[in-house]
Each structure stands twice: as structure tokens, then as C-alpha cells.
């Protein structure tokens, strides 16, 4: 009842609203908030008239109201429908949007995922490459080291072989010189009348060239004559036949050595 005075306005408003809604639907503007407001009916001071009249009027009014209400209801229904449609559309749109978004999201996600995977792959690849590179470097390094080691080893072996050859040569040298020295000393070692079973060790110091610097009894036989004969045998042989080359002389350790007399 309170609304009767304002029904026109309401209808108008309703139409406007409907139009707006349609427009809204048509333009399909994305709106996050609804701007529609509920219209409040104005308060009217009532004047009592003839009851019949009133009743008639009332009935008329009521009828009007009913129509109005019906219309309103229809409008409202329409609005509602529109709203529903709108909402549905909205919903649909929203769903579509969601769908799109989701799809987009999904796409993005997938993209991201792909990218990630790609990145990952790239990383792996990179890593692999790095590993490979590293391996290659290491390999190269290792190879170089191996080569170096081989070279080193070869060199060492060569040196070793050289040293061994030298040692063998030296040993041979030594044997030869020892034999010759021994032969000469033996020839100067007079054993006439010496008792058997005696032994003495004589230490001798030489200078390069074989000249005897000093001889001494390292281990006496206990027989002075035996010791003296041995000493003389060595001294008489001076200069001992040693290598003339000083380096060889030193290497063979001929500066100091000993004789064991055990005839």
C-alpha cells in the first residue's frame, strides 16, 4: 500500500533497469559489483472517504495494485529472469572465464611446466654438458697426466736403465780392475814359509791415478810377518792399476777399499 504513489516510478525504474540489464547483457561488460539498488516507496498521508466509494476505490486500487503487482511481478519476474539470465550468462561467462582462466592457467601451468621441464632439461643438458665438459677436461687432464707420467716413467726407466747399464758397466769395470789389482798384488805377495790358515785385512787409500796414500792393517792375522808381507805386497803394487778417468775412479769407490789376504 505504501508503494501505490510511486508505482509509476517503479515501473519506469523497472524498465530502465531492464534496459540497463539488457544493455549490460549486450555489452557484456564485466562488472564485479552490482550497482542496482532496491527502490523504497514514499510515505503518503491517507484521507478517509466514503467507505463504499472507498471500498470501490479500494477495490479498484486493489485491482490496480494487483495489476501493478502483477506487472511488477512480471517485471520482477522478467528482471529476475533477466537477472537469472544475466547471472546465468554471468555464471556461464564466469565459468567460461574460469574455464578460460583455468585453461589459460592450465596452459600457463603447462607452459610453465613445459618451460620448467625445458629448463630442467636444459639444466640437465647443461649439467650433462658441464659434466661432459668436465669429463672431457678431466679426461684431457688425465690423459695429459698419464702422458706426463708415462713420459716421466719412461724417463725414469731410461735413467734407471742408464743407471743399471752404468752400474753393470761399473761392476764390470770394477771386476776387471779388481782382478787386475788382485793379480798384481798376488804377484807381489810372497808366501814362502808362511804358515797356512792365516788371514788379514788391509785397508788402502788411493789418490786418483792409483798412487797409494796410506795402507793399514784393518784386521791382523796375528802373525807379524804375514801382515808385513801383505802390506808390502800392496805397497809394492803402487800405483795400482785404476781407471785413469777421475770420475770413474770416484764412482767405482776406489778411493778407499780393502784387501783380504787369505792364501
Amino acid at each position: 500500500m505504501q508503494r501505490s504513489g510511486t508505482s509509476f516510478k517503479s515501473v519506469f525504474l523497472s524498465i530502465l533497469l531492464h534496459l540497463g540489464a539488457a544493455a549490460l547483457l549486450i555489452v557484456s561488460i564485466d562488472m564485479n559489483t552490482r550497482t542496482l539498488r532496491q527502490s523504497h516507496p514514499e510515505v503518503v498521508q491517507a484521507v478517509i472517504v466514503d467507505s463504499k466509494e472507498v471500498e470501490k476505490e479500494l477495490q479498484k486500487l486493489q485491482e490496480i495494485d494487483k495489476q501493478k503487482q502483477k506487472k511488477q511481478e512480471e517485471a520482477e519476474q522478467k528482471l529476475k529472469e533477466a537477472e537469472q539470465q544475466l547471472a546465468a550468462a554471468k555464471q556461464q561467462r564466469k565459468q567460461e572465464e574460469i574455464k578460460v582462466t583455468e585453461a589459460k592457467k592450465k596452459q600457463e601451468l603447462e607452459q610453465k611446466k613445459r618451460e620448467e621441464e625445458q629448463n630442467k632439461l636444459a639444466d640437465i643438458k647443461k649439467q650433462q654438458e658441464e659434466v661432459k665438459k668436465k669429463q672431457l677436461t678431466e679426461e684431457a687432464e688425465r690423459k695429459r697426466e698419464e702422458q706426463d707420467a708415462a713420459k716421466q716413467k719412461q724417463l725414469a726407466e731410461k735413467q734407471k736403465a742408464d743407471a743399471a747399464a752404468q752400474a753393470q758397466l761399473d761392476q764390470q769395470f770394477k771386476n776387471n780392475f779388481s782382478a787386475e789389482i788382485g793379480r798384481r798384488v798376488s804377484n807381489n805377495f810372497n808366501i814362502s814359509g808362511l804358515p797356512p790358515g792365516l788371514k788379514c785385512v788391509i785397508s788402502v787409500r788411493l789418490i786418483p791415478g792409483g798412487e797409494i796414500l796410506n795402507v793399514s792393517i784393518k784386521q791382523s792375522s796375528g802373525n807379524e810377518i804375514f801382515d808385513n808381507r801383505a802390506l808390502v805386497a800392496v805397497q809394492k803394487t803402487s800405483p795400482l792399476p785404476v781407471p785413469l778417468d777421475t770420475a770413474t775412479f770416484e764412482r767405482l769407490g776406489l778411493r778407499q777399499f780393502s784387501f783380504t789376504f787369505i792364501p
Partner: protein, 431 residues
């Protein structure tokens, strides 16, 4: 790299250092030792009474153990130690040098000073100052020879010893003079102990060198006598019927082994000098003769023809079975033990008509001929075993000769002419 090389060098050096070179001398040479005896200094203008250096040189040479340097080869003639130019001697390989001086200290009194020096180490091996009257100068020289010999060979020298021997002189009218003599080992200073117109044989020294036993035919038959060298006192110890020959002293000087035929057959007997009692050692029907005592007195060796030819046998000194020692040649006789008892010298013939001096090694039974003559007799060892003196036939008679025990050095002893026989080398003069 350098470090490695250094290490290698170091290692090789260590290897050498650890395996220090040691040369084994497991053989030597047998031979006479070189020695130079410098003519001794002499403090007078007159001729020196004895050539000390020459006497020593001859002694050493005769032993066969030394080759003295010839006087004309001496590079210098030092008489004092500080005059020795060691380098010169070393260059000549002459390790042993004898220097000395003969000094007249008074009328007929002298002093002999000598040094034996090793030229390689400059050490004096011996050095003595010996006072001596003129009559003892030669003997002093022999004593010096003995000292040198012992210092360089380790064996006691036997130069200061004497020999006994027999000489035979033709006196004309079919007469001969037999002499028993003693002399220095080098043949100098002969002294006649006994002269006889009848044969004198087989002189034998008592172990103490104070008496000599011999065989004399002065009573027409053979007899064994013992004579004191210093006093000339003599005793006939065996004058039995038949043969009385080949006396040999026991090592303790209390007994004589000898050959007697008083019981019919020449056999070996042992006589106790204190009682002149005899005891028969061999009973063989063959001829047993020329006995000799082993050094330890436990055995007696002798010559016997019991096997068909003259060979040497050995039996215990108290009798018993005799063992044949010689198997080489058709004749082995007149045995003499070496002073160390390990060998024997004898006259040996190897089916060639030559009778030579042989050396028999008792452990192996191996014998070797030492001489290259035709008719040798009476070998006798020097008391140190280094030499053997013997008599050998010459065109005009016979003379004394010596050979080193190894047969390397032969020497004839300077003796007056005629016939010189049966040398016997005396014992060491001092204990």
C-alpha cells in the same frame, strides 16, 4: 729431474759404499825375499877385519830364502837411518834394508850395530848393538843373519851353527890323512878335532852340541868313539868284533843307536852311554844299518836291504816290527829326520845309476829329488830345517854342498881342496 738424478747417483753411491770393494788375495808367490845389505860403516882407515855385510849377504843367499841385491846395484849406501832415501828403495821394489856400522872400540874390541828396516813403511824391524872381540866378529855376523832370517821368515835362523865333516888328504906313498873337523855353517873357521892315518867316518853331534861321536879305524878295526869338542877328551864306546858303525844320538843324549855285527849279522843296537850296555833292536838276517832317531825319540829309522834293495824302514825305538817307508827307486838310504819330524832326507837312486839327495814327506810318502848331481852322500838337515847339507863327488874328489829344503837353491861350500865327506849339521848353539 735433477733431484731424481741426484737420488739415483746417491743410491748408486750408497750401493757402492755398502758393497765396499774388497779384493781377495787367495794366492801368492813362492820365492826368495829381496833384501839389500849395505856395506857397514867402519870407523878406521885400515881394512876392516871382517866384511860384515858380505858375510850376512852370503848367509842369507845360501839359505835360499833371500835374494840379496848385488852390491853394484845398490842405489845408495846409507849407514845411518836418517840417510835412507826410502823412495829410491821402494821404486826398486826392495822392501828390506840392512844398514850397520862396525866400530873399533879398543884394542881387539869392536861393536857391531845394525838395523833391519822395512822401506815401505819406514819401520825398523830389528836393531841391535853387539860388542864383540875380533874372534867373534864373524859369529856376530851370523847372529845378525839369524835375527834377520827370523824377523822376515818367522823361522829361527841357523847361520850361527856349526858343521862337522871329514876330509881326506893324499899324503903320498899311498898314505892318506883323515881329519875330523868342525867349522861355521858357512864353512869358515875350520878346526881340526882329530887326525888319523886310518879312516874316520860318520861324525854325529850330540844334541847339546858339545860332543861328537864318530867311527875310527885307528885300531885297524872299526870302533865308535865319543869326543868332547872343547877338551878333546875321547872315549871308545864300541869296539866289538866285526862292524862298529853309524852312531846316532838319542834326542836326550843318553843313548847311541849304532850298527854292530858282534852277533854275526849287522843289526841295529842301542847303547846306553852311562853303562855302555847294548840292546839289540833289529833281528833281521839282512843288513840293517845307518840308524837315526826320530825327533821325539819314539822311533828309529834305518837302512835295510831286507826287501832285496836298500830301502828305509822305521821301527819303534823299543823294538818290534819295522815298517818300510820308501817305495820309489831302487835305492834309498842314509835317512835323517827333519827337525819338525814331518820329513826325511836321504840318498836316493831311481834306477838311473845316480845317487842323489831326496826329500821324503812322511805324511804322504811322496819324495822328490833335490839335487842334480851324480853321487851324493850324507844329507843332513840344518837345525831349523831350512837347508840340507851333503857331500857330492867331484872330478878330483868330493866337496860339501847345501840345498834349500825346497830344492830351489844350491850352493857349494868354500872348503880347501881334496876330499870332503860326511857333513853333519850341528844343533843350535844357544837354546
Amino acid at each position: 729431474m735433477k733431484r731424481l738424478l741426484l737420488l739415483l747417483l746417491l743410491m748408486s753411491h750408497i750401493a757402492i759404499a755398502e758393497d765396499a770393494l774388497n779384493i781377495i788375495i787367495d794366492e801368492g808367490v813362492e820365492g826368495a825375499l829381496p833384501i839389500a845389505v849395505i856395506p857397514f860403516g867402519w870407523n878406521q882407515d885400515t881394512l876392516e877385519p871382517v866384511d860384515m855385510a858380505l858375510t850376512i849377504t852370503n848367509d842369507l843367499a845360501r839359505s835360499g830364502r833371500f835374494v840379496p841385491m848385488k852390491e853394484r846395484d845398490l842405489p845408495q849406501r846409507p849407514n845411518q837411518f836418517d840417510q835412507i832415501n826410502f823412495k829410491d828403495w821402494r821404486l826398486l821394489g826392495m822392501e828390506n834394508l840392512v844398514i850397520g856400522n862396525l866400530v873399533q872400540t879398543g884394542v881387539g874390541t869392536y861393536e857391531v850395530e845394525f838395523r833391519l828396516v822395512n822401506t815401505f813403511n819406514g819401520r825398523q824391524l830389528a836393531g841391535f848393538r853387539i860388542p864383540a872381540p875380533i874372534t867373534q866378529l864373524r859369529r856376530t855376523a851370523h847372529r845378525i843373519s839369524d835375527i834377520i832370517f827370523e824377523k822376515l821368515t818367522g823361522v829361527r835362523g841357523a847361520f850361527d851353527t856349526r858343521i862337522a865333516y871329514i876330509t881326506v888328504k893324499e899324503m903320498g906313498q899311498n898314505k892318506k890323512q883323515y881329519n875330523l873337523l868342525i867349522a861355521d855353517a858357512d864353512g869358515f873357521n875350520p878346526q881340526v878335532l882329530l887326525s888319523s892315518q886310518e879312516p874316520l867316518l860318520s861324525p854325529a853331534w850330540s844334541p847339546d852340541g858339545k860332543r861328537i861321536a864318530y867311527v875310527s879305524f885307528e885300531s885297524r878295526n872299526s870302533a865308535i868313539w865319543v869326543q868332547d869338542i872343547l877338551t878333546g877328551a875321547r872315549t871308545r864306546v864300541a869296539g866289538n868284533k866285526g862292524i862298529n858303525s853309524a852312531p846316532a844320538w838319542s834326542p836326550d843324549g843318553t843313548r847311541l843307536a849304532m850298527t854292530l855285527s858282534k852277533d854275526g849279522n849287522p843289526d841295529i843296537y842301542i847303547m846306553h852311554l852311562a853303562t855302555h850296555t847294548t840292546q839289540q833292536l833289529t833281528f833281521n838276517r839282512a843288513i840293517d844299518t845307518e840308524p837315526v832317531w826320530a825327533v821325539d825319540g819314539s822311533k828309529i829309522a834305518f837302512t835295510s836291504d831286507r826287501g832285496g834293495s836298500a830301502q828305509i824302514y822305521e821301527s819303534s825305538a823299543i823294538g818290534g816290527e819295522a815298517r818300510r817307508l820308501t817305495f820309489e827307486g831302487n835305492y834309498n838310504a842314509r835317512p835323517r829326520y827333519s827337525p819338525d819330524g814331518k820329513a826325511m832326507t836321504m840318498v836316493s837312486s831311481r834306477n838311473d845309476g845316480r845317487y842323489r839327495i831326496a826329500y821324503l814327506e812322511l805324511s804322504s810318502g811322496y819324495s822328490s829329488i833335490l839335487t842334480n848331481t851324480n853321487l851324493d852322500e850324507s844329507p843332513s838337515f840344518a837345525p831349523n830345517g831350512s837347508m840340507i847339507i851333503y857331500a857330492t863327488a867331484t872330478r878330483t874328489g868330493s866337496e860339501l854342498a847345501a840345498v834349500s829344503a825346497d830344492g830351489t837353491v844350491h850352493q857349494r861350500l868354500a872348503m880347501q881342496g881334496g876330499e870332503v865327506r860326511e857333513p853333519a849339521w850341528g844343533p843350535f848353539l844357544s837354546p
